[in-house]
């Protein structure tokens, strides 16, 4: 008998629409020490399972109809809530949640949280011993300077650090079965790799069994021994990680695999038209008055001296970790923020210098599609009014003309015309994103900014949205700026790429070139920290140590030198200027030439480095 088994589990959910089966698992077995990955998109029952195992499922509306969940021979469903609390949850089973902020109580310091858990789980320890134990645990999860971490409140830690604290808490409980529910979803790719490496290491050290839940197939196949695909509440396919990646049986699995495969992609060639957008030494600083700590006039350099040029028909992909300033850059270009310094020229005209009337012409020609389709459409407006909003501003067409144009636009993005008289909440995420795209085209713009257009919709719709964007771009000869942390999306759409780090563009060039031959150490690290379908185990992933420094107090010299594995003493003193490599490429690194010679294209040449989601 396996260490963890599920037999004939059936869970239903009751609502107005009637009772629906949300989870139906015939048999699931995980051996001791194994890592089992469960893959599925949102709404397929992943989290329901995680909660049901711990008796945390809310009943009603949920209801466990039948079946058994065996942990080492004990049926967890037969235990009383009290027994569960005392003997299983938090002592034998621990869970790591998606969002590390919401599961650490914000009013307590990390030290208080840790000692609290240790006091209840390890009775009979003195205050000093508990403290030592807590410090030991923090060291085990590789949090440097445990003493100071203990004194901090959760909001003072970064996402990666918080997730490490959560892992330390799971260790403190002495858990032998760990449920990780998308533990890296809200983290940046470089942090993600290091957290996963840590998990793997601790798992081997403590012989833990891990149920790993995720919606990203390449992540799961890299991290897990065996993988199950959850679809419509059922496990439709189960195989070893390698077997699944190479020989998927079900159509659904094939779709998931296609969505993360890179070899099918080919970046577009650079356009050679006239210049549409020119950004010159753009700076956006935010003044922060922290009067509480009497540090007045701090400046946050969100965008620090950025210049680039975009030709008609280009698609520029801006890539970087969260907080690197990519959204601020775009918002400043769009005139939503007042720039601190620098100029932006659109079709040769100075965008900031013009009066109100000129500004409106610019706004008509530049539109944006936002990341979150749930809040980018006014929930109280009918679809026809949402799509027609740009027309109402610039053309003010008659009612009949307006309706006709809206229907045309909707048809173009694949939404039936009867959607006109519906509200946004009646549509799925992917459909809403289509409606947002239709709106962005209503004023016949020349430049459309796509701010993470696919990151909050599921894998199925993602591919369709990308295809739609490509198609529309060709039909309307649009120029795009694409913001994304998803290199797969960037690879698919962009022909120019800009890598941003701490408000600066560290590498710029034609997408194909940059992907083939990354020059900046940060670009290399970014590409190498993303698992692909062929990655087995965590050893193939390179990680970047350290946190992203604060843009309020950026390190002197090269902003990246503290995390750069190739940094030399000069890097801390001298700020690298962009070096023109020819062919439209530029890189801001003092040592790029030496690195190119010593490292060659090792990271770029082999298969694992090709960018994927």
């Amino acid at each position: 008998m396996a260490y963890f088994e599920i037999h004939d589990l059936r869970i239903t959910h009751r609502s107005f629409a009637g009772t629906k089966t949300v989870l139906e698992i015939g048999r699931l077995a995980i051996e001791r020490g194994e890592t089992y990955g469960l893959v599925g998109e949102s709404g397929q029952g992943k989290t329901v399972l995680a909660l049901a195992i711990q008796q945390l499922l809310r009943c009603p509306p949920g209801r466990i109809e039948s079946g058994s969940i065996l942990l080492d021979g004990t049926d967890l469903l037969k235990l009383s809530p009290k027994q569960m609390q005392r003997t299983v949850r938090g002592s034998r089973i621990a869970m790591i949640f998606q969002d590390p902020m919401s599961c650490l109580n914000p009013v307590f310091t990390v030290g208080t949280i840790m000692t609290d858990v240790l006091r209840t789980r390890r009775k009979g320890l003195s205050k000093d011993q508990i403290r030592q134990e807590a410090l030991g645990l923090l060291e085990e999860v590789k949090l440097a300077d445990g003493e100071s971490v203990m004194r901090k409140y959760p909001h003072q830690l970064s996402g990666g650090q918080r997730q490490r604290v959560i892992i330390a808490l799971a260790l403190a409980c002495g858990a032998e079965f760990l449920i990780a529910d998308e533990p890296t979803r809200n983290l940046d790719v470089t942090i993600q790799a290091s957290i996963l490496k840590l998990l793997k290491e601790l798992q081997q050290k403590h012989n833990m069994t891990v149920l790993f839940i995720a919606n990203n197939l390449s992540l799961v196949t890299a991290f897990c021994d065996r993988v199950g695909i959850l679809y419509g509440g059922k496990i439709i396919e189960e195989n070893t990680a390698a077997g699944l990646a190479e020989h998927p049986r079900e159509d659904y699995t094939k779709v998931l695999i296609d969505a993360v495969r890179a070899d099918a992609r080919k970046a577009e060639p650079a356009a050679s038209g006239e210049t549409l957008l020119k950004v010159e030494h753009l700076k956006k600083y935010f003044d922060i008055n922290d009067e509480l700590r009497r540090q007045k006039h701090l400046t946050l350099k969100a965008v620090d001296d950025v210049s680039f040029e975009l030709k008609k028909g280009d698609v520029l992909g801006i890539v970087g970790e969260s907080g690197c300033g990519k959204s601020t850059l775009v918002n400043t270009i769009l005139n939503l923020f007042e720039p601190t310094e620098g100029k932006v020229f659109f079709e040769g005209a100075d965008v900031f210098g013009e009066g109100r009337k000129g500004g409106n012409a610019f706004k008509k020609n530049v539109q944006i599609v936002f990341q979150d389709p749930y809040w980018s459409l006014n929930p109280r407006w009918l679809i026809k009014d949402i799509v027609a909003e740009p027309m109402d501003v610039y053309e003010k067409p008659g009612e009949a003309e307006r309706l006709k144009r809206v229907e045309e636009l909707l048809e173009m993005v694949g939404i039936p015309a009867d959607a006109c008289y519906k509200y946004p909440h009646e549509f799925s995420g992917g459909q809403r994103q289509r409606i947002a795209i239709a709106r962005s085209l209503a004023s016949n713009p020349k430049l459309v900014v796509l701010d993470e257009p696919t990151s909050s919709i599921d894998v199925f719709s993602q591919a369709q949205i990308l295809a739609l964007i490509k198609d529309l771009r060709r039909r309307f000869q649009l120029t795009n700026i694409l913001i994304s942390h998803d290199l797969g999306v960037v690879h698919e759409l962009a022909n120019q790429i800009a890598i941003m780090y701490l408000g600066k563009i560290v590498e710029f060039g034609p997408a194909e070139e940059v992907f083939r031959r990354p020059c900046h150490p940060y670009t290399r690290a970014l590409f190498d920290s993303i698992p692909t379908l062929t990655t087995r185990g965590m050893d193939g992933l390179k990680t970047l140590e350290g946190q992203i420094p604060s843009p309020i107090n950026p390190p002197p010299g090269c902003a990246f030198h503290q995390r750069c594995p190739y940094a030399c003493p000069d890097c801390a003193r001298e700020t690298p200027q962009p070096v023109d490599l020819g062919g439209g490429r530029a890189v801001s690194c003092l040592r790029w030439k030496e690195l190119e010679e010593t490292l060659g294209n090792e990271s770029a040449g082999d298969e694992t480095a090709s960018p994927e989601k």
Partner: protein
């Protein structure tokens, strides 16, 4: 015309959904029915009350202070007027006064709050400091002071209440507007180039009005009480208007011997205020997207 029907369809659909949600909670359904009855009584008052002449200064001293009977369901007052007729007609006075006062405060408070929240900066500062000044007086005292200046009458009482009440809505909607301003659809409207006032009135206000509606429906109860209090202090409705608070004020001299004189207008106030509070809760539930989802 066809266009209009099409546009109304989704609105009707969502109204039907609201009714469905309302009907799930028996208590709020009861409150709604009672309020509808009350509203009907207020509208139809002249037609249904048994002794219309008793609304004014009629005097039948021969039947003064009669206890409740089949002829006079709630008894009679010191002038022999039918209390039942006066209480029913009083609902008209109280409801119109309360609706007018709350409506007027909404009219002042909502646009001010939305403008303050959306503009920020010095506009916000000026508007909010003014509301702070108003908020630093107890609303009832402020209303009393204003009535004293304006002169005692029901209309002045309504005006005074509205002037002391609007800052609450301003505060409420300003907070909502600040968070709504960060929503992507507002930013989208900005990039599209939609005008500032249109953004405030078409994007921001409709999306932050829900808590204000909840608050306003609960406030109607409170305003009815305030109107009654002002009338009780003879600063509101004047004799012989059949206003509930005024009736209690007159009846207290005959309490407890002629208990019906005070008790029935009091009960009317009590039930109306309770119903509005229950309705406010029900509206909150309907407007909460979480209950809407399933």
């Amino acid at each position: 015309m066809n266009n209009f029907v099409q546009t109304m369809k989704p609105r009707i659909r969502s109204a039907r959904e609201s009714m469905y949600l309302l009907a799930r909670n028996k208590l709020s359904l009861a409150a709604l029915i009672l309020l509808l009855l009350l509203a009907a009584a207020a509208v139809l008052a002249p037609a249904i009350i048994p002794y219309p002449e008793d609304l004014a200064d009629a005097a039948h001293t021969d039947i003064s202070l009669q206890p409740p009977s089949a002829e006079h369901l709630m008894g009679t007052d010191e002038l022999g007027r039918d209390i039942f007729s006066r209480v029913i007609y009083g609902s008209r006075v109280s409801l119109t006064a309360a609706l007018a006062a709350v409506g007027l405060s909404l009219l002042i408070g909502v646009p001010l709050g939305a403008v303050a929240g959306s503009f920020g900066g010095w506009v916000d500062n000026v508007i909010m400091r003014i509301t702070d000044v108003f908020l630093s007086f107890p609303p009832l005292l402020l209303a009393i002071a204003m009535v004293v200046v304006l002169g005692s009458s029901l209309n002045n009482a309504v005006l005074a209440i509205a002037l002391s009440w609007w800052p609450w809505y301003t505060r409420l909607i300003r907070g909502q507007a600040i968070s709504m301003k960060e929503r992507k659809f507002v930013q989208a409207a900005e990039t599209i180039g939609t005008g500032r006032m249109k953004i405030i009135f078409r994007h921001i206000i409709p999306n932050c009005i829900s808590p204000v509606i909840v608050q306003a429906s609960m406030d109607i109860g409170g305003v009815i009480l305030t109107v009654a209090s002002l009338s009780f202090l003879s600063l509101g409705a004047q004799l012989p208007t059949p206003e509930w608070g005024l009736m209690i004020s007159m009846g207290r001299r005959f309490f407890p011997d002629s208990w019906w004189y005070c008790i029935f207008p009091g009960l009317a106030i009590f039930i109306t205020v309770l119903c509005f509070n229950l309705l406010g809760d029900a509206i909150r539930e309907i407007l909460d997207p979480k209950t809407r989802k399933n």
